[in-house]
Every structure is written in C-alpha cells, then in structure tokens.
C-alpha cells in the first residue's frame, strides 16, 4: 500500500472512532436527559448542555481529519506523493485522538448521564454537576494536542 492510503486510513480512524465514541456518549446522556425532561421539561436547557459534552470528541476527530487532509493535499485537490514511511507516520499521528476519543466519549456519556441525575434532583448544583463529565474531557484534549502536533510535525 502506498503512503497516501495509510494517511487516509489515519483520517478515517481519527474521524470514525472519535465520532462513534461521541455518538455513543451523546446517546447515553440523551437517554438520561429524556428521562428528566419527561418528568420536568423546565430542565431542558440544563440537561441539553450535559448531553452535548460527549459530542466534542467527534469534533476533535474531525479537526484532526481536516488538518491531515489539508496536509496531504487531498483538500486542495492535489494529493501529495507520500512514501510508505510518511504515510505510516501520519496514520500513527491520527491514532491518539481516534482511540482516546472513542473511549473518553463513551465514559463521558456515562458520567454525563449520572450528572444529569444531580441536575434532576438539585438543579442549583448544575455547575458542580458539569465538572464531573468535564474532567473526562481533559484526556480527549491531551490526545487532540498530540495528534495535531504530530500531524503538523511530519514533513510531507
């Protein structure tokens, strides 16, 4: 396989895994949010914010995907002629956000669902409740940073 194929697999991993994780996470938190809104529609705005938290990993994956596509010239319509080693390097650079995005989004969804329970019972504790799922975000951001730095640092 040529380098460009590996680079594109990297893009697919970054966007696909992180996006899938976000879909799962937002889905889990959405179930909890629906439960609360069924009983108390006035909490819609608060639980919606909680539900959206695990959606960021998908955006991070997309960002890394765009940077990579731009780097290898696919976005500009002139794909670079990558050797196998460079392609593998780009693939490896995309892995952190793909893997950490998938796992962190699922767990952030679960934490959001639990935090939605706090909002359901004690809406005045919204700020504290949001901190718990936000902590999970840290690790997705670390993975995003590494992926961006790595993709940007690979000479094409």
């Amino acid at each position: 396989m040529s380098g460009i194929v590996w680079a594109l697999i990297g893009v697919a991993v970054a966007v696909g895994l992180a996006g899938s994780g976000s879909a799962c996470g937002v889905g889990i938190a959405g179930q909890a949010a629906s439960g609360v809104v069924t009983e108390d529609p006035s909490k819609f705005a608060k639980v919606l914010i909680m539900q959206l938290l695990p959606g960021t990993q998908g955006i991070y994956g997309l960002l890394v995907g765009f940077i990579t596509l731009s780097k290898i010239g696919i976005l500009g319509g002139a794909p670079a002629d990558l050797d196998l080693a460079t392609g593998l390097l780009i693939f490896a650079a995309c892995l952190p956000i793909g893997i950490a995005g998938l796992i962190s989004a699922i767990y952030q969804g679960k934490t959001s669902a639990a935090a939605i329970g706090i909002v359901a019972k004690k809406p005045e504790q919204f700020g504290k409740a949001m901190l718990f799922p936000a902590m999970v975000e840290t690790y997705a951001i670390l993975a995003l940073l590494v992926s961006i730095l790595a993709v940007s640092g690979i000479p094409v």
């Binding site: 799962c24 889990i28 179930q31 909890a32 949010a33 439960g35 069924t38 669902a113 329970g117 359901a120």
Partner: protein
C-alpha cells in the same frame, strides 16, 4: 451497552424523587387539623388523579397503583419486581385455603392484580390440585391444606405458608442478577424472622413452633436466634446486637410501634446505597420501597387524624423518609 439499559428509567426516577414527601412535608401533614385537610394537601401535591374520590383509602390505593404502573413503563425487565408480589401471592393462597377448608365466606380478603387470580386459587384448593403453582409453593399449599383439615389449627396453616413465602423470597433474591433484589430479599427475610422471634418471645412459643416458622436467612442464624428466644428477652437483645441489629434492640426497648417502624426503616436503609447507582435497577427498587413506605406513613397519619389520636402517638409510627 447492556449496562446502560436503565439510564432513562433512573433519570426519570431521579426527577420523581423530588415529589416524595420529605420530613418537612410529613411535618406539615402532622399539623393538619383533620384527615380532610391532609387529603387536600396530598391532592395539591399531585396524589391521586383528577377523578380519584377525595377519600383517604382511594387516594392511597391510586398512589400504590401509580407506583406499579410507572415501574411497568420504566423497567426494561419487570420480572425483577416479582419478589414484591410474592407476599401478596402467598397471602392469597392462605386466604383461599382458609376460605375453602373452613368453609367461610369472607369477601375482600384477597389482593387483586396477582396471578393466579382469586377464582383460580380457590379452584385449586377445592380440587386439591396445586400443579399450576411452582413446586415449592404447591408443596406448601398441599401441606397447609392437609394440616388445616386435620388439626383445624389456623395458625399452623399460617406459619407453613408464611415460611414458604420467606423461602420463595430468598430464592427469588438469590436467582436475580440485580444486586438490589438480593439485598432486598436478604433484608426482608431477616427483618421478618426478627419479627417472628419477637412475637414468639412475647407469646412464649416453643422451639418446635419457631423451627416451623423461622426461615433460613443469609443475615441471621435462625437456630441461634431461636435458642436465645427460649432464654429470654435479654439473650435475644444480646444476639441481635451481636448480629448487627443493635438499632432493633433500641426500638424494642422503646415500644412495639417503634419496633414496627424500625422494620420498615431498616428495609429502606438497606437499599439506600443503591440509589446512587446511575445504571442499575437499584434506584427503581429503592424508589418503590420508599413510595410504599411513604404510603404507609400517610395511612398512619390519616388513620390517626380520623380517630383524633394524639400527635405523639401518630409521630411514633411515622416511617423515615427517603429524601
């Protein structure tokens, strides 16, 4: 994703928990001048439906139905709640046996909404054919019927069926994969065994009677407990304190009403840690128990107010609140 199947249900229960009576609301009920004012306050808090008559019993009945309707709607697997219907099922069996064997016509002694129905249960007892029941229940039914016919001893019939019920609860708990149901079953059997032991102590029952009445239990050694009952109240208190039921001893020293309260409060306390699990049936089961306890508390208050009982007598019977 099977570990997230309770996510929606738990979130709804969390929102519902806010509508449970807190100590302040119970205190407000206590300060109502009569039962009618209590009913008005409960109706304003959303108890009953728009078409529920403004009558205490109708209101309580409707609230109880609403709990089970909610669980049928929410629980991905409603069979986990079967353990709650076992006491009613065995009560209906007992009622059918007594009704048929004692040839009494005692209407309204059956719980409704339990399967098999009253008519089916009566037909089984008349035909002495308990094969539609599970083998454990069928064996108890057959034995209780024979004993009642031969000895005419209603209490013996009661303890055979009640012990079988406790064993069934224990088995249902052990067979259930939800930890909350195992905790509920173990605590229910232990608390019921303690109730039996206390009553045996008060009425001076024999070891043989206790052997027939007490069901084996994970939290207590019933053989040892029966021994202590024969040795007297001090020995029983000492045994209960050693077995982790020191609060029961305090309640017993206070009064029998305080002890009855302790029994219900202990069930709720045992399940209280379960309410913090966001992805299990725990909060649902804990909510059911809390709501049933709440209905019991309101019944106490309404009955007390209707009969103009002094507040301190009613207060002694008020159960702990969940929120």
């Amino acid at each position: 994703m099977s570990d997230t199947q309770y996510t929606y249900a738990v979130a709804r229960i969390r929102a519902r928990e806010n509508s449970l009576l807190n100590p302040g609301a119970v205190e407000q009920l206590m300060t109502c001048r009569d039962a009618d004012q209590c009913i008005q306050m409960l109706t304003e808090r959303g108890w009953g439906d728009s078409d529920t008559p403004a009558d205490g019993e109708a209101l309580l009945q409707r609230e109880q139905e609403k709990v089970w309707e909610l669980m049928r709607e929410l629980a991905p697997d409603y069979s986990i709640f079967d353990v709650f219907s076992l006491p009613m099922l065995y009560h209906n069996l007992k009622a059918a046996i007594k009704d048929v064997c004692a040839l009494n016509d005692m209407p309204h002694i059956f719980y409704e909404g339990v399967s098999p129905s009253e008519q089916d249960m009566m037909a089984m007892v008349r035909a002495r054919d308990f094969s539609p029941l599970d083998s454990h229940m069928a064996e108890a039914a057959s034995r209780a019927t024979e004993e009642l016919l031969h000895t005419k001893d209603g209490q013996l019939c009661d303890i055979i069926i009640d012990k079988a019920m406790l064993e069934a609860v224990q088995q249902a708990g052990a067979a259930c994969k939800e930890r909350v149901i195992r905790t509920y079953a173990d605590t229910y059997v232990a608390v019921t065994d303690i109730k039996i032991a206390v009553r045996c102590l008060k009425t001076g029952k024999s070891r043989e009677f206790m052997r027939q009445a007490l069901a084996p239990c994970a939290l207590l050694n019933v053989e040892q407990m029966a021994d202590t009952v024969l040795r007297g109240g001090e020995a029983l208190n000492e045994y209960l304190s050693r077995s982790g039921f020191a609060s029961c001893v305090q309640a017993l020293e206070q009064s029998m009403s305080a002890f009855e309260c302790w029994c219900d409060d202990t069930m709720l306390d045992a399940l209280r840690p379960e309410k913090y699990h966001a992805f299990s049936a725990g909060p649902l089961v804990a909510y059911v128990l809390a709501k049933l306890n709440e209905i019991k508390t309101v019944r106490m208050i309404l009955t007390g107010k209707a009969n103009s009982l002094p507040d301190d007598i009613i207060r002694e019977r008020v159960r702990k609140t969940y929120v």
